[in-house]
Amino acid sequence: MSNNVIVERERGLGELERRIAELREASAAQPLDMSTEVAALEGRYRQLLAELFGTLSPWEKVHMARHPARPTSLDYIARFDRFDELHGDRHFRDDPSIIGGFALLRGRSVIVIGQQRGRDTKENLKRNFGMPAPEGYRKATRLARLGARLGLPIVTFVDTKGADPGITSEEHAQSEAIATALVAFTTAPVPIVATIAGEGGSGGALAIAIADRVLMLEHSTYSVASPEGCAAILWSDAGKAEEAAARLKLTADDLHRFGIVDEIVPEPLGGAHRDATAVVNATLDRIDAALSGLTALPAARLLEDRYQKYRRIGQWQAEAQEEIERVH
């Protein structure tokens, strides 16, 4: 049994899919017309799909964002025209939980950086479940500075539970690594487009998500802390994660309303992994469109706009305050 509620639901659907496929096959092989039965099953299937995934609660989105089949950063990067990975922090280690390098996107040279979780257990061990160590953030910083130096736009994909909370990471100054990455992304005089592709967990996510334009997949989450972490911190009870998920306002809609996310990329019913190619391509189209707009701006304007964008978030103004409160 999976502990992912979405995967659990898909189990029954998979059974139905198999039955439809069998019936179709049987129908093709036999003279008997079974199209009515097939149609009925298909109708039932669509109905179930809508019931199961038509509306997702924040907690369900948390699980959707963590779905093992959800497109990862490398799945996006694979659909760039080309990618040449650059490795290492130049000091200590190459952290596989952050990947990055040069890429061509719709013919445009860019620096691409993404958090990378594993797509199976073995890869997850290698990639530390997508939780970067300081060396990963230092690699990201180095690559962001490379883009800044050479005038290449920066494209990032966020998909992490958070920064690695291990002993070595603390010993290697995780705080400093993230703080310095924030500076690198804040000051790079080139267009930056970030996409919250999966789970956007805390400062470890934000470290590569400061951008001129932030896209977010419809069922991704982006949160000040994981729901489990939030529940543990506030109520000393990680079991209350579902309640925390509901309170944290971690969905794309919430964050779009707060002005933290600029654009929501729709997903098919049942999540991005049900039509990964289409979702990935649509996302890349939107990244490309955003870059086209941003590259038209002079660097000074870009930096000023970026400053004001982050300056505004949570800024205290009577009107803004009222407006935010009106929402509730």
Partner: protein
């Protein structure tokens, strides 16, 4: 001044010594027996540091409840209770003062308000301070103390890391100096933003400093961490911070650092600051009288 616990006696959490509150305050909230540094209240800290007046800014900005948060209590009720107990209306106090004759922008976080967590208003006040310090071309000193970003303000709290970073970079790009003092505890989103973006990073003796909290790490690795882990002294050895300073040496150290970053020549120091001699001869308790 804030209304606070008014009992006459308090117990040192480290060595168990029962301390007379007035003595403790006169000793800068340091246990006279074991040297334990109590977590200071922001205005006590400011009194200990500032030569005289402190002009607060941003104090009119108070936190709302952007997420409409409720658990056992509403967020608004939690804020009200923290206000009551700490005398503060947010986790940071910002303003301008002179320290050793040097005009500085000063931000002091206070663990007694929501565990020093960074909410929208925390970030906003620090940003306003940095923007004003940039206009005035004065160095900025931030005393960090924080449990990280504040849950009850969700992503709006997390984004304060981005906002303060933006303000820090503009401030520093103009050649202004940022000196940060890490006090117990400095973790999470505060550690991973302005705290570790400073020119000089001082830590108060024995302060706990880290990105992940001790409990989180212990749960992850399923073993107990050594006591020394994540202390200021540990970080010094690991090269993460510039120096560890005992609270009694903090003001003199800060004045010396300000002299360097202000390019103060001796004549300037003699003319306008309370002289290096006075600074070095400063004895315990002198500050508390300020």
């Amino acid at each position: 001044m804030p209304k606070r616990d008014s009992s006459l006696w308090t117990k040192c959490p480290k060595c168990g010594e029962v301390l007379y509150r007035r003595d403790l305050a006169a000793n800068l909230d340091v246990c006279s027996r074991c040297g334990h540094h109590f977590r200071m209240h922001a205005y006590d800290r400011i009194a200990m540091l500032a030569d005289g007046d402190f002009t607060e800014i941003g104090d009119e900005i108070a936190p709302g409840d952007p997420l409409g948060w409720t658990d056992k209590k509403t967020y608004s009720a939690k804020l009200a209770s923290d206000r009551e107990q700490s005398g503060l209306n947010e986790s940071v106090v910002c303003g301008f003062a002179t320290i050793g004759g040097f005009a500085v922008a000063l931000a002091v976080m206070d663990f007694h308000f929501r565990g020093g967590t960074m909410g929208r208003v925390t970030g906003e006040r620090i940003t306003l301070l940095l923007e004003e310090a940039r206009r005035r071309k004065v160095p900025c000193t931030i005393f960090a103390a924080s449990g990280g970003a504040r849950m009850e303000e969700g992503m709006l709290a997390l984004m304060q890391m981005a906002k303060t970073t933006a303000a820090v970079t503009r401030f520093m790009d103009d050649g202004n100096a940022l000196i940060v003092v890490l006090t117990d505890p400095t973790t999470g989103g505060v550690a991973a933003s302005f705290a570790f973006q400073a020119d000089v990073i001082v830590a108060e003796s024995r302060a706990m400093i880290g990105f992940a909290g001790r409990r989180v790490i212990e749960q992850t690795i399923r073993q107990r961490l050594p006591d020394q882990f994540q202390t200021a002294e540990f970080l010094l050895e690991k090269g993460a911070i510039d120096m560890v300073v005992d609270r009694h040496n903090l003001k003199p150290t800060l004045i010396r650092l300000l002299q360097y970053v202000c390019h103060a020549t001796p004549s300037f120091v003699t003319l306008s600051a309370p002289q290096s001699g006075a600074v070095e001869g400063l004895s315990k308790g002198d500050h508390a009288a300020t």
